[in-house]
Symmetry: C2
Amino acid sequence: MANMKDVAREAKVSVATVSNYINGKKVRSEAAKNIEVAIKKLNYVRNNAARLLKTDQSPFVVFVVPSVWSPFFSELTFWVQKYLNKLGFKMVLCISENDYEKEKSYVKMAEEQRAAGILSISYSDLTSHVLSDIPLVAIEKETTGQFSLISSDNYAGGQLAAKELINRNLEHLIFVGSTNYESVELNARKAGFEDFCNNHGHKFELEEVKTRYDKKQLLDSVNKIIERIISESKKQNIGIFAHTDETAFLLIKELIKKGIRIPEQVQVIGFDGWNLTPNTKLSLSTIRQPIKEIAETAVKQLNKEIKNPKEAEKARVMLPVSYRAGETTIN
Amino acid sequence: MANMKDVAREAKVSVATVSNYINGKKVRSEAAKNIEVAIKKLNYVRNNAARLLKTDQSPFVVFVVPSVWSPFFSELTFWVQKYLNKLGFKMVLCISENDYEKEKSYVKMAEEQRAAGILSISYSDLTSHVLSDIPLVAIEKETTGQFSLISSDNYAGGQLAAKELINRNLEHLIFVGSTNYESVELNARKAGFEDFCNNHGHKFELEEVKTRYDKKQLLDSVNKIIERIISESKKQNIGIFAHTDETAFLLIKELIKKGIRIPEQVQVIGFDGWNLTPNTKLSLSTIRQPIKEIAETAVKQLNKEIKNPKEAEKARVMLPVSYRAGETTIN
């Protein structure tokens, strides 16, 4: 690729003259003409990587995300990229696949490349690897507490799911999700559900399914639920809250395979609010995370910290979720 | 952020000594010890942006894609990022939203940042904006012909859809998709379907629906299809090939809303092979694009062109598609 020296040689002027011309400073008109011709001939493009390095401003923001191949993460990535672009940043996409070593290497890369900042969703303690004073905003999952955190109100979401199911006069409530410590936000969903049920004197049961989809475990849970449907005299009184849309989706597929009618026999509410594309919604009833608002808030906070690294206060924002009626509940 | 000078000052050695130490050259043991202490104290991280600039090697590959918020593109982005990472590249994600001006600005950015290369899916003529000799590999959509192109065999996919429907003894075949020139690859899907039907003496009808989802147009098409179901004496003889999974998905939702039973009354085959996550498939019968192989082939080709810009031959690869049976056909 042609550089400034090539342009200078071609235009028969000094490199300093080319530099002045490119940076909008005054240059003799004949020199300017020759430089212009040389630029066109050589397809010279200004080297911004070099220019930005001198001014210590990188256009790159590193986005560390467990996956992009999942409707929740792909929608989030879409909005994060859009808001970063609006502010003149470019996104370096780093998919961690929940791999701790990968996360570490991405943080190291961000520091070595002098990236402007990091946005991350990490379920390990990624933030503990940050050695430098590079601005970082965490989405959803908090770790050390020293960085800004933008998340959904997962606890209120769990409460909301319980409320929606109880309002439908469903006697038998089942929580399908992780029942052991797995992640703070999944635990919050479960705790919200449990607390709301307990506070309203409503019994419920727990079916263990981890986030990392385990086919055998899911089939076991489905079979238990089916046994319950058969053994109950009333057949239209089961309500399920699944801790993610992915779990809900797989559960529904299995129930339908076994001949269970949804929502007539079993009503299901998921969590996340998957939209397959901007125009394509799933028919799942769900607790919807405010994905667009999470992206906007996180990007704006990161920008503040990049622009004023010393003065910007760290933010801790918890955004409200909402119930979205689909076809897996009787509405 | 601490730089080499700060480390030298702290360790009371010259900048050259620090540089030697960092680059693995021999340094007096006392100096090495002092430098090590200084690096830890100052949280010094090597500046790769500067280092790479000198060696003229950028780790960044720019990926221009219409969207990431759609199962096809999110799966493709997942694999592209994975294969880029394997070769030591970082992905700069550039979502164009099919906006010509955005595409142009991304190409300019790639050139100004001296990115190692560009991977693009563009439905306009993005490649005509490439001024420099930056390596570029196009996925799916060809434009000027001067760059490498990796795509699915869309024509064979259209033929395969027709074959699958005809094998089911469906008398009434309908193509739902764009019937005017919209894009080369969508036209190829339609042409493959038409040619196969014509060559086998099978009549078919066309229902116009554009890629950019038009609710009214889709409802009109659905209503026409329903009229046909009602007016036909046989009620189990309609087969539909929709030119994308998105169209198929929306069509099925509308048909179910109108009380049409799928696959008993209408069988539907889409095109793309959406997987919502690595573990979550849709129940749609579809022509599956080899997304992983497309990503791998494109990244490997780009790497060849980056490593040997003058000698690497341009590639034109068309990868085979396959039929994936789901629950929207009788199999």
